[in-house]
Amino acid sequence: MTAESLQALLHSSPHVWRGGEIARVDARSSGYAALDVRLPGGGWPIGALVEIAPKTDGCGELRLTVPALKSWCQDGRSVAFVRPPHVPYAPALARCGMALSSLLWVAADSDEDGRWAAEQLLRDGAAAVLLWSAAREDRALRRLQLAAETGKACAFLYRPPSALNHSSPAAVRIALSAASDGAGMTLDLVKVRGGQPGKLVLPLNRPAT
């Protein structure tokens, strides 16, 4: 038996356990090749919690996730913004190619209501939920993680930078800031379960002037 035929046999049978692949993670491309290679499964992990801590508003925090959101919308799936700090601006989203009809904006009054809504959406049908929350409690984060797992959805949790000093059950944790040359964003991958932590700079289309 040749190596190729053995390989083919292994791949054709679902009953053969292949040690090297058990860590395979279901993922959705982030749209940034340099980031995808750092993430387990080659993209944003499905059924997991991703933390994003922007140093300041307006440093690329939405452009980081928009390419993946756009691809979900193209599949006819829904994505939700829960308690965003500002109005998600429809003309800009549409210009990025987002289908507005697949986008839900949940304007909850309290942080607790926001977390509750995010949980329901993750569990029951949204492909991805972007939640802005200041919650610190481990329990709150675990609930979101569990809801994402249950609904096979992607939970993006936007938090203040100070939150990164505390431990978290998130699969990916990113500190985000504007790159010093003003032409991109710097990602500090503080934690990447099954991937490569470390810093990288992603190019951003600078706004037209």
Partner: protein
């Protein structure tokens, strides 16, 4: 004709809170004429029986609690059961004083697989409403009613079999009044057969025309003309409490029952709802109204219950609730669902609209938003919140704009570094303020990109958006 008679023998008790500990009876009348009309298991165990007078009942159980019956509540419950029963047949009649509803199923039997299947659907449905029931099936209304008192007797399917089937039953089950039964007993009559052997004119002379007529209707020898119940065009169901209810938990049980009844009514009319109201009635005419609007037509009791429960739990109940009332007056065609097993996208849609309803119930309808575009060059008018599910078309020709927008521009005292050339946007004379703005891209020390404008009239600077 084939009638299913549904009797609720413990209705008076089941409309009270039956799970209270201790011996409990519901009574009718006052003073010396106060009689037991319903008792709970503990009271029955103490030897108390329906029909017993109040002093005799007290003698058997000194700790006995006696509650007055609410005829209005019993009446409403029986009427609601009749509305619920329309899902099985259009031919329904009822007797509110006997706690009984009849369904003519002879013509609808072929829609159900068998009499056994239909019987099971009816009895399971009533159990879900929270009632104990006994059911009789016979070709005449009164024979069916009689069989509810004898659950061991098999259904009678032909008119000619009635006499043979009921002949050996005691006369105590007949609807001829306690006084007539006592008198017949003293003459030695025990069974229905013996009573039917007495000539009609002799019975009429002794007890009046009513008794022989009743026996003729029982056997189907005389037509039984009853007013048919018609499902109301506007649904209103009220449920009164014995004592004021202060907790949400106390409201949930009757709410669930009321919604189950309502779901039966909706199925009977083959309609669904998108709007309904639940009113909590307090003392002195005060009320709390909960309005529910669902995104898709609904007729599932459990779904409506989940939404109302969520709403109730978030509602401050200022005073004890004396009654609740469900009302709905607008009905729509139910959504047609095809192929429950294979039509997955459909089901997903249903789940999604159920989810949105749940979010609206807790956060308020205005918190759940869809974004749309408007054909307007002014930044604050170029977007909108869509009230319905309508999607917005993507315009091919949109200017570069920031992803975050500040609906109320924030005035700036210190300016960050401005980049490039400004874009002039005229506010337009129709706003009443004839001003124009120069929009700039700017970069802060932290590297964030801002969208600013200078008001040409006041020369002040404002932050309008962020390139997030």
């Amino acid at each position: 004709m084939l009638w299913v008679s549904v009797h609720l023998p413990h209705l008076a008790m089941e409309l009270r809170q039956p799970e209270q500990p201790g011996a409990l009876v519901v009574t009718d009348g006052s003073g010396a004429r106060r009689r037991v009309v319903a008792c709970n298991a503990t009271a029955l165990g103490a030897g108390i029986a329906i029909g017993m007078d109040a002093p005799s009942a007290m003698m058997r159980e000194p700790e006995l609690r006696m509650l007055d019956r609410s005829k209005a509540n019993e009446r409403r419950a029986t009427l609601a059961l009749a509305s619920w029963a329309h899902q099985f047949t259009s031919d329904v009649c009822l007797d509110v004083t006997r706690w009984m509803v009849w369904l003519e199923i002879g013509s609808s039997l072929r829609y159900f697989n068998s009499l056994t299947a239909l019987y099971k659907q009816i009895s399971d449905g009533i159990e879900r409403l929270g009632y104990t029931t006994s059911i009789g099936i016979a070709p005449t209304i009164e024979a069916a009613a009689l069989l509810t008192k004898h659950p061991d007797v098999l259904p009678i399917l032909n008119k000619s079999e009635i006499r043979g089937a009921v002949g050996l039953l005691p006369i105590t089950g007949l609807e001829i009044g306690a006084k007539a039964i006592d008198q017949l007993h003293t003459t030695g009559l025990r069974t229905i057969e013996e009573l039917l052997d007495v000539p009609s004119d002799a019975l009429a002379r002794r007890f009046g025309e009513g008794l022989p007529h009743y026996l003729q209707r029982l056997l189907g020898e005389q037509a039984d003309v009853r007013r048919r119940h018609r499902a109301p065009a506007i649904y209103r169901r009220r449920f009164d409490f014995m004592e004021g209810v202060e907790s949400v938990d106390g409201l949930l049980f009757p709410l669930r029952r009321v919604l189950q009844e309502f779901a039966g009514y909706l199925r009977g009319r083959d309609v669904a709802v998108q709007h309904l109201a639940v009113t909590l009635l307090h003392r002195e005419g005060a009320e709390t109204v909960l309005r529910l609007a669902t995104s898709a037509p609904q007729r599932s009791a459990s779904h409506l219950f989940a939404l109302l429960r969520e709403k109730l739990e978030r509602t401050a109940i200022p005073d004890p609730v004396m009654a609740i009332q469900l009302s709905a007056g607008e009905f729509v065609e139910p959504r047609i669902t095809q192929g429950d097993f294979f039509d997955d996208p459909h089901r997903e849609n249903d789940n999604w609209s159920a989810l949105l309803d749940k979010l609206r119930a807790r956060l308020g309808a205005e918190a759940i938003r869809r974004l749309g575009l408007s054909d307007d060059h002014r930044p604050e008018k170029a977007w909108c919140v869509l009230s319905d599910e309508k999607g917005a078309a993507i315009s091919a020709d949109l200017p570069d704009r920031p992803l975050w927008f500040l609906s109320e521009p924030q005035q700036l005292n210190d300016l960050p570094q401005l980049l490039g050339t400004p874009e002039r946007i005229e506010a337009g004379w129709w706003t009443g303020q004839d001003s124009s703005r120069d929009y700039y891209l700017a970069r802060t020390d932290e590297g964030a990109h801002w969208w600013l404008f200078r008001d040409a009239g006041t020369n002040r600077w404002y932050l309008q958006g962020l390139w997030a």
